[in-house]
């Protein structure tokens, strides 16, 4: 069949397929291993046909010719936020460029590859390799910023340079001292270590293993854009901002991940009862947080969580019985120490703690990042 004398049916089908393929690929937001199989490594050489520069993942489409057959592949890359940190821009590649892509291909057999490395065939120059490097620390620690009254500032002080906290030293929630190995998606390298991650009740351990064995593909943060409540908000690549509203006794935690939602920590001495008139029993994604200062450490107690989200990148379960105590300390200008104690008698056999640090990214505002639901 010919249409308007221009396109053969096979070309039309290829075009429609590529279009649909592109749409489905562009909507996908997921842990990498949920969609791509690390065991299916492949290297492809082809010609760039399109660059789709958007969140949550950028895509490069390329025609790969094998003999007399040309097929269009989607090369999926990190988010533009992370790509920019690696020196990549939306115009780094142009349609018509010949590239060689190394990566891992889709579990479902579709023509999609997660690009781990992209080399320009014209000059053999590597044009893409995600490093997402943290800012270099100064040789000598800079002193902790303080407010005029001498109190430590967790964010930017009045008149200070913009900045936010990112590059967590740990992206996986596990009990201090466990030191287990995970991949970049928070998947355990050895599933038999699951019982060492945290002191889980039997049902919680079984559910955690189930989530891990399904490659974290059911994560509602990716599937439904659920907020990264609990300690998860401090283990995101995209960082967060702490804005202190000292006059009104509250700290806003602005998320770089999710949909730029926020959490409020109240320091005005209120109790959790009556925080929001009439809906004390309405559990929330970020719970209800009350803070107090112990010297230079901000101590925050949060309860009132709902059960509609995963509170860790690796899929550790929690229940609405969760109470979280967090301790924030800024020992120098560029370091935020974070320690969380999880007390959830619904899912764990005893309270347990985890701690990590985050780095200050000065001179910048939070990068724009919006989630797109996979269930549309």
């Amino acid at each position: 069949m010919k249409i308007a004398g221009c396109f053969s049916s096979s070309r039309l089908a290829l075009g429609i397929g590529a279009l649909l393929f592109g749409i489905s690929a562009a909507q996908a937001h997921h842990p990498i291993q949920a969609k791509f199989d690390p065991a299916k490594k492949q290297t492809l050489t082809g010609i760039v046909t399109e660059v789709d520069w958007r969140n949550p993942h950028a895509h490069v489409f390329m025609n790969v010719t094998n003999g007399s057959t040309t097929l269009n592949w989607a090369v999926e890359l990190e988010s533009p936020v992370i790509l920019k940190n690696s020196g990549w821009s939306g115009t780094t590649l142009q349609p018509g460029d010949t590239i060689q892509v190394s990566g891992i291909t889709a579990r479902d057999g579709s023509r999609q590859i997660w690009g781990e490395n992209v080399v320009s065939s014209a000059n053999n120059r590597q044009v893409y390799n995600v490093t997402n490097a943290a800012p270099t620390h100064p040789l000598a620690p800079r002193p902790t910023p303080r407010w005029p009254d001498g109190h430590v500032a967790l964010g930017t002080t009045t008149g200070g340079t913009d900045g936010f906290w990112a590059f967590p030293s740990a992206k996986v929630l596990q009990e201090d001292g466990a030191n287990l190995k995970f991949d970049s998606d928070a998947k355990l390298l050895n599933i038999n270590d699951a019982n060492k991650v945290a002191p889980m009740q039997p049902w919680a351990l079984a559910l955690y293993k189930h989530r891990q064995e399904r490659n974290l593909q059911d994560d509602p943060m990716y599937l439904n854009c659920k907020p990264p409540g609990g300690p998860r908000q401090y283990q995101s690549d995209l960082g967060l901002q702490l804005l202190e509203d000292r006059e009104n006794g509250r700290i806003f935690v602005l998320m770089g991940s999710g949909n730029r939602n926020y959490r409020i920590i109240y320091l005005d001495g209120r109790t959790t009862t009556g925080l929001v008139s009439g809906d004390d029993d309405n559990p929330l994604y970020y719970g209800r947080a009350l803070g107090r200062w112990e010297g230079d450490t901000l101590v925050v107690t949060t309860s009132g969580f709902n059960e509609d989200f995963w509170f860790s990148n690796g899929g550790l379960p929690h229940t609405d019985l969760l109470t979280m105590e967090e301790r924030f300390t800024r020992p120098d200008a560029d370091t935020l120490q974070y320690k969380v104690t999880i007390n959830d008698p619904g899912a764990y056999t005893k309270p347990w703690s985890a701690s990590w640090t985050m780095q200050w990214v000065g001179g910048e505002d939070l990068p724009p990042y919006f989630c797109q639901s996979n269930r549309q």
């Binding site: 559910l207 189930h210 509602p220 059960e307 509609d308 989200f309 929690h318 229940t319 609405d320 019985l321």
Partner: protein
């Protein structure tokens, strides 16, 4: 095979509601469950409401008569099987589609010499 109209309506209702199941990433048993209760003279639909207090599963089962308090509940997470006792009913089932908000429990129920299969879907 012909399905009774009431049975079809119940199935349709359950399927419709299941589409809108609210997220529940905590204890898998927690929530409201509606479904089929085959072989019951009082009607072939059932409602279960289960909760989790950190130590035990509590709640009610209503097989078309009255709310019956769950007096015994055991979940075996090794194979995700569950045993419930509510009134004179003994219920044994197994979770399916565990990862989904509209997961289900499929199994059998017994009351004296009566009994049958059941399937409930989380709402």
């Amino acid at each position: 095979m012909r399905l009774p109209i009431r049975g079809m309506l119940a199935l349709g209702l359950a399927a419709g509601l299941a589409t809108f199941a609210s997220a529940q990433e905590g204890h898998p048993a927690k929530g409201s469950w509606i479904g089929e209760w085959k072989g019951n003279s009082a009607g072939e639909s059932v409602l279960m409401v289960m909760s989790w207090d950190g130590k035990s599963i509590t709640g009610i089962v209503n097989p078309g008569t009255d709310n019956l308090k769950i007096t015994d509940a055991e979940l075996n997470p090794t194979d995700w099987s569950i045993h419930l006792k509510a009134g004179d009913y003994l219920i044994d089932g197994k979770f399916a589609r565990l990862e989904l908000p509209n997961r289900s429990i499929v199994g059998t129920w017994k009351k004296g010499s009566a009994g049958g299969d059941f399937e409930v879907v989380r709402q």
